[in-house]
């Protein structure tokens, strides 16, 4: 039976959709199973068409991106209402994404940099006409509406999306594996004692040897193993973009905890090595961290 599917984009980069398109010829097997009722990037149905659909009339609603604008919030609520099964698709959707790093500042500070202070700006103003307005703080989608399936990744690989889609189409559950990137990584590992951390551009990352053992900040040990260790395979440290393994609530806190254990350095040296813990330890999931949530509460109170 052909299933009705909607693919909705909130504020995001479209990488998850591109990853789906990158099934290439395998799309020819998947497409006949699907009746695409809403996918603005590819198909010409309008928002009004989506809003007019009966409740729960869409089998699978895939939501990419996070709520940076009030329009995103509206769209998220609409697709939740119209979908039987809502899938938070990609790290933006599950954890807030890289734009969650913006939560370090107030929305006023973000607007100021972009629309008032930028070097090339000649006529500064905050645009307001026929535009939705911004949310004060990025909250992850699962904190805004109930989500049925989560599929993190930045983006999820074509295989990840195909697997999830197949499970959904055949009515089977889709659970995230309790694995880390290390479980998929081909590098040779030794006992972990780091005497000095190196930044990515420093020295030379030797192929074949665990990148963390070499002193580079590779977060594979604390990151869910879904991607096939794509980055370490090409001599590049994992940045944790798929988020934590299941049941870890705060990705960065877990990473800090582990680093404290393996770093054979004075705590002054360790502090000096990581002047940007938010950027280093919370690449796509700062919006899901305890501190971001506390900050969100404080700012909401202040605005009232």
């Amino acid at each position: 039976m052909v299933k009705r599917i909607a693919l909705v984009q909130l504020s995001s980069c479209w990488g998850c959709d591109q990853s789906l398109v990158d099934l290439h010829l395998r799309l020819l097997d998947v497409l006949p199973e699907l009746d695409i009722v809403y996918w603005p990037a590819v198909v010409d149905y309008k928002l009004a068409d989506l809003e007019a659909m009966p409740k729960s009339s869409i089998h699978f609603g895939f939501v990419e991106g996070s709520c940076r604008t009030k329009e995103d919030e509206h769209l998220l609520n609409v697709v939740r209402e119209k979908s039987k099964v809502l899938i938070a698709w990609g790290s933006c959707s599950v954890y807030g994404g890289v734009q969650g790093l913006g939560n370090q500042w107030t929305i006023e500070e973000l607007l100021d940099r972009k629309f008032i202070k930028a070097d090339t700006i000649t006529d500064p103003r905050i645009p307001e006409e026929n535009l939705p307005g911004f949310t004060n703080h990025i909250r992850p989608n699962p904190a805004i509406v109930p989500v049925d399936v989560i599929l993190p990744g930045c983006p999820p690989t074509s295989d990840n999306t195909a697997e999830a889609l197949t499970a959904l189409l055949t009515g089977k559950p889709y659970d995230l594996p309790n694995k880390t990137v290390c479980d998929q990584c081909p590098m040779e590992r030794k006992e972990k004692i780091i005497k000095k951390f190196k930044r990515t551009h420093e020295g030379k990352i030797e192929p074949g040897i665990c990148i963390l053992d070499q002193g580079y900040l590779c977060l594979g040990f604390a990151t869910i193993g879904l991607c096939g260790a794509q980055c370490p395979t090409v001599n590049t440290p994992c940045k944790g973009c798929f988020g934590p393994p299941p049941n870890i609530k705060d990705h960065g806190a877990k990473i800090i905890s582990a680093l404290g254990a393996i770093a054979d350095m004075s705590h002054e040296e360790l502090k000096a090595a990581f002047p940007d813990p938010i950027g280093s330890f919370y690449f796509t999931d700062y919006a899901s961290s305890y501190l971001s949530k506390i900050r969100d509460k404080q700012r909401s109170k202040a605005k009232k």
């Binding site: 980069c13 479209w14 990488g15 959709d17 591109q18 398109v21 990158d22 290439h24 010829l25 020819l28 695409i36 603005p40 590819v42 010409d44 149905y45 309008k46 009004a48 940076r68 604008t69 995103d72 890289v98 734009q99 790093l101 913006g102 370090q104 500042w105 973000l110 940099r113 972009k114 930028a118 070097d119 090339t120 700006i121 000649t122 006529d123 103003r125 645009p127 307001e128 006409e129 026929n130 535009l131 939705p132 983006p155 930044r199 990515t200 551009h201 020295g203 030379k204 794509q230 980055c231 090409v234 001599n235 590049t236 940045k239 002047p275 940007d276 938010i278 950027g279 280093s280 690449f283």
Partner: protein
């Protein structure tokens, strides 16, 4: 809005990456009063890049766009290298050229087949349910299969060089983290033969579309603007070169190094779009509104950098002149660039340096400074400007992303099209072919 005015809202604009709506205001006599292209989201990368290690910018910035992450990856790398006075090994530059051309190839194919072709194959009056690539694949399976294979070639080559196609990772200040293996080079060189044949078949298809739609192409939304693009000694260039600005009369009014962009780039903040309007600063706004992207690059360049593409460019210029203002000619220019991309890819794969292991400097020192990294993304000239402190931490960012260069020009061409359609009823008098997909 007065009682007899009418507002038409198209929400969202489809077959577009991102968030855009159109607001068209008509007077009570049916004249087009205003057309707004409302880009309705932005994520503030310029701010949240502050405080980050600059060498991580090539990992963060690609998240601006899932279709063109490679240009961001490379512009970010170049900006840091400029700030820290670093020159990467020549073989690393060749790998980066291979990466950006692989992406140019797959992105241009995606645009032509999935975003643009539905309009031409189903026709502008076709059923919305048929105006999409899924319908194309169903109705024309051979074309559909070829489209998928062409995109696959570009994406898989990008992944082979960049680690992954969506959000590549191997470019870093100082070079590349991973060399290109001989095995991969052999594989892709072999595959490039078929890709080239398929590219030429795509050119044939594109020329048929141009022929069938000649009337609308030459009459609808022929919008004079300035043009911005990159060149290398006059040849169309997408990785590293100087920038040119051409005025609507076809005169080159500026030719400059990207680091001097602030003399030439003006950024106007409209009240109705989160994406700003970029224009040629010396001539003011709105007169200096420029467009970037394929047609602009083909206008400012003296010629293409590769032979078959150059023949194709000459054909377009023989038909439409120079500069070409016809907005629909963007599709034709895009296919000409598709040809240059596959020719560049072939040439780089044949170069023995492409498998060199000398692709990264081992001693890279951060320093206090600022640098501009500029490349051509498929949608236009992409510029990243970073300031770093003595530890190499980013303190300030200014970015003019590719699409930004086109927002004002899009609005201008929409105004022209809206007038022609609402006031002159052009859709009734223009000659359209019978649609192929019904």
């Amino acid at each position: 809005m007065s009682k007899d005015e009418k507002t038409i809202r198209i929400a969202p604009v489809t077959r577009l990456e991102g968030h855009g709506e159109l607001t068209i205001k008509l007077t009570k006599t049916g004249k087009v009063k205003d057309v707004q292209f409302n880009v309705s989201s932005t994520r503030f990368f310029e701010k949240f890049l502050e405080g980050r290690f600059a060498e991580e910018a090539p990992r963060i910035a690609p998240r601006i766009c899932g279709i063109c992450p490679e240009p961001h990856h490379l512009a970010a790398t170049k900006a840091v290298e400029a700030a820290w006075d670093i020159t990467p090994p020549p073989a690393a530059v060749k790998l980066r050229r291979l990466l950006i051309n692989a992406k140019q190839y797959s992105s241009h194919a995606l645009h032509f087949f999935a975003l643009a072709a539905p309009d031409f194959l189903a026709g502008p009056f076709g059923d919305p349910a048929l105006r999409n690539v899924v319908a194309i694949i169903k109705a024309l399976p051979d074309v559909g299969k070829m489209a998928l294979e062409v995109m696959q070639f570009g994406q898989e080559l990008a992944a082979a060089v960049g680690g992954k196609a969506i959000h590549p990772v191997t470019s870093t200040p100082g070079g590349m983290l991973n060399p290109f293996s001989e095995e991969k080079r052999d594989e892709f060189l072999k595959r490039s033969e078929k890709a080239k044949e398929q590219t030429l078949a795509t050119v044939t298809l594109a020329k048929k579309v141009v022929e069938d739609y000649w009337d609308p192409i030459t009459k609808l939304a022929v919008t004079p603007t300035y043009y911005l693009g990159m060149h290398n000694k006059g040849n169309l260039e997408i990785y590293d070169g100087d920038l040119r600005v051409m005025d609507p009369a076809g005169k080159i009014v500026a030719d400059f190094k990207p680091k001097d962009y602030r003399k030439y780039y003006g950024e106007y903040v409209p009240n109705h779009s989160y994406a700003t309007h970029i224009y040629y600063k010396p001539d003011g706004y709105p007169k200096g509104i420029w467009r970037a992207n394929s047609l602009a690059r083909c206008n400012i360049a003296d010629k293409m950098a590769t032979p078959i593409a150059q023949e194709a460019l000459q054909e377009m210029r023989d038909a439409l002149g120079r500069p070409i203002h016809a907005t629909f000619a963007y599709h034709w220019a895009r296919i000409i660039e598709l040809v240059q991309a596959i020719e560049e890819i072939e040439s780089l794969l044949k170069d023995p340096d492409i498998v060199s292991t000398d692709v990264k400097l081992s001693d890279v020192q951060p320093k206090k400074g600022d640098g501009v990294g500029c490349v051509e993304a498929p949608r236009g000239t992409l510029l990243h400007h970073y300031w770093t402190d003595e530890k190499g931490i980013i303190t300030k960012v200014n970015m003019v992303v590719a699409t930004n260069n086109n927002i004002a020009g899009i609005e201008k061409s929409l105004m022209d099209a809206a007038r022609q359609i609402f006031e002159d009823k052009a859709h009734e008098s223009l000659k359209f072919p019978d649609p192929i997909i019904k």
